[in-house]
Amino acid sequence: MNCMSCIEYIIVGVMIASAVLAVEWRDLLAAAVGMAAVSLFASLLFFMLQAPDVAMTEAAIGAALSGAVFIFAIKRTQRYETEEEEKPGWWVRW
């Protein structure tokens, strides 16, 4: 295992971690940032996969703009995910 693949593993690991965090954080603002981070790490991976065009596009559109749009939307709606009460019930609702 050379150092290049070390970096790959690390980036993929961090990307997955930020994805999990983006999904699990209750603060939507943080989640949006987490999502942008996923995009950012993905764009790094794109770069490593010899796709510089895609990397640039992902960084500019996927990370920056899509994150910004999310943040505006959060600003216009609500910032925190409401507490999920686990009410027992019909199977489709849970």
Binding site: S5, E8, Y9, V12, M15, I16, A19, V20, A22, V23, L28, A31, A32, M35, V38, S39, A42, L45, F46, L49, Q50, A51, P52, D53, V54, T57, E58, I61, G62, L65, S66, V69, F70, F72, A73, I74, R76, T77, Q78, E81, T82, E84, R93
Partner: protein, 114 residues
């Protein structure tokens, strides 16, 4: 053993789908969709990758046999733009929804049913 890129891509897809399946907040579901799209893009690019080759820019003495497949990259460019378009649309719908329903909890957004 599958490659780490494939692993990462599939993980992103699944995590995104997980958010859609479990999280009740609309924005969270949209974040999930967005992550899913990123995963798909990653998958596409990894499929086009060829070990030991460089980017498909044929200047500087890189010949046709030394470059990776350009098509998946072109496709991913399109897919990214489509992804952001969908996200923007979805978010504006979410804004309207919040205005009309006062909530973003999908369990309460169900006037249309049956």
């Amino acid at each position: 053993m599958i490659s780490v890129y494939y692993f990462g891509a599939i993980s992103l897809i699944l995590i995104g789908l997980y958010a859609v399946l479990v999280k009740k907040n609309v924005l969270k579901m949209l974040i999930g969709l967005s992550i899913m799209e990123t995963g798909v893009n990653l998958l596409l690019v990894s499929i086009g990758y060829i070990s030991g080759r460089s980017a498909p820019i044929l200047s500087e003495g890189i010949g046709p046999n030394q470059a990776v497949d350009p098509i998946p990259q072109a496709l991913v460019l399109t897919a990214i733009v489509i992804g952001v378009a969908t996200t923007a649309m979805a978010l504006s719908v979410a804004i309207i929804l919040y205005g009309k329903y006062g909530t973003l909890n999908v369990e309460e957004i169900r006037r249309l049913r049956g």
